[in-house]
Symmetry: C3
Subunit: 108 residues, 3 copies
Amino acid sequence: MKLVIAVVQDKDHARLRKALTAAKIQSTRLSTTGSFLRNGNSTFMMGIEDEVLPELLAIIKENSQARHEFISTAIATSMLGELPEQPIEVAVGGATVFIMPMDQMVHF
Amino acid sequence: MKLVIAVVQDKDHARLRKALTAAKIQSTRLSTTGSFLRNGNSTFMMGIEDEVLPELLAIIKENSQARHEFISTAIATSMLGELPEQPIEVAVGGATVFIMPMDQMVHF
Amino acid sequence: MKLVIAVVQDKDHARLRKALTAAKIQSTRLSTTGSFLRNGNSTFMMGIEDEVLPELLAIIKENSQARHEFISTAIATSMLGELPEQPIEVAVGGATVFIMPMDQMVHF
Ligand SMILES: Nc1ncnc2c1ncn2[C@@H]1O[C@@H]2COP(=O)(O)O[C@H]3[C@@H](O)[C@H](n4cnc5c(N)ncnc54)O[C@@H]3COP(=O)(O)O[C@H]2[C@H]1O
Ligand SMILES: Nc1ncnc2c1ncn2[C@@H]1O[C@@H]2COP(=O)(O)O[C@H]3[C@@H](O)[C@H](n4cnc5c(N)ncnc54)O[C@@H]3COP(=O)(O)O[C@H]2[C@H]1O
Ligand SMILES: Nc1ncnc2c1ncn2[C@@H]1O[C@@H]2COP(=O)(O)O[C@H]3[C@@H](O)[C@H](n4cnc5c(N)ncnc54)O[C@@H]3COP(=O)(O)O[C@H]2[C@H]1O
């Protein structure tokens, strides 16, 4: 069994939720914050049997999208020590996925 | 050592918190959302020694309750493709518990 | 690989975030609640390579602080069964850190 934790951009969370529900993969969502851009993002937590992992990773890949985001002026200024001459862009991946061993899953 | 993550219905979270505190089992709570019903629920995270696990599972079982919930009209309609003739009920378990191996727990 | 989860006091979360970003250790933040004091606190989640663990623990230790907090009158009264004669203080550690084995980390 595995506990899979996937951090995705807020823009993709509804699409991913629908795809998981359609595939009958149960999940729980947490509202989280990225530490670098300080933007809100979404974290999905899924307890699964081992053999579901390939299907789950394919669903996450198909339903999340890499994008370019601008660093806010305030964060860029605090990083550079001065106002940036022009906006700074950063690539943000579609999903960051952590796959952990799980001893047991219990339903009451 | 184990990290135990328990997803319970919001209605039970205060009762479970009190039972954990009375048993001197420390925990941290996250506000989460169920992906199917899209209702708010509560997730407790507990780092424990192995021998506490049976007591912890008994406390979670006694302080969470399975219930029947109605799927909102909006979600049912999007699932069926049309307005349901009558409200659709779904069984929601008392708790879903993930038990994970933990290498170390450190207090600073 | 490890998934490291660190619960710190809200007062320290900005300091810790800055130190992690400066050290190029990526992290995601969750807003959480301590079950005993029922205060909001911050939980950081970090997927890392094994060899980063000593540096990460040093950063968490240096950027979080143990403090004394007063238990709210309402919580103290419900614990004691009567209004406490004087405010009750509790020591709250700087950080509680859970270190878990991780099978894989995937970026899409
Ligand atoms: N010190 C630094 N210098 C320059 N660029 C930096 C940087 N730290 C992060 N970035 C860039 O900024 C993007 C957003 O990071 P953020 O921390 O807001 O949001 C992150 C964070 O919430 C989470 N994340 C990524 N890796 C993580 C890890 N190892 N542990 C925990 N969370 C992680 O996934 C979100 C997206 O990450 P992704 O890697 O796709 O995209 C990252 C990365 O490309
Ligand atoms: N393996 C897992 N990984 C991560 N989180 C998990 C999980 N199993 C359960 N959960 C979490 O626990 C809540 C209750 O699940 P339960 O299975 O008791 O009760 C579920 C289940 O009986 C039913 N259900 C879920 N998905 C369904 C589907 N595709 N078709 C029909 N019924 C579904 O709806 C109830 C509420 O589901 P909801 O998603 O709102 O809320 C879920 C979800 O937040
Ligand atoms: N094993 C574990 N699993 C999951 N989360 C954990 C944990 N150990 C600690 N935490 C988290 O870290 C926060 C600080 O814990 P600490 O032990 O430093 O500081 C604690 C502790 O010194 C004290 N405390 C907790 N439970 C107690 C009890 N039943 N009786 C007396 N004092 C208690 O109150 C302080 C604040 O506790 P609070 O629950 O508000 O907030 C806790 C909780 O959110």
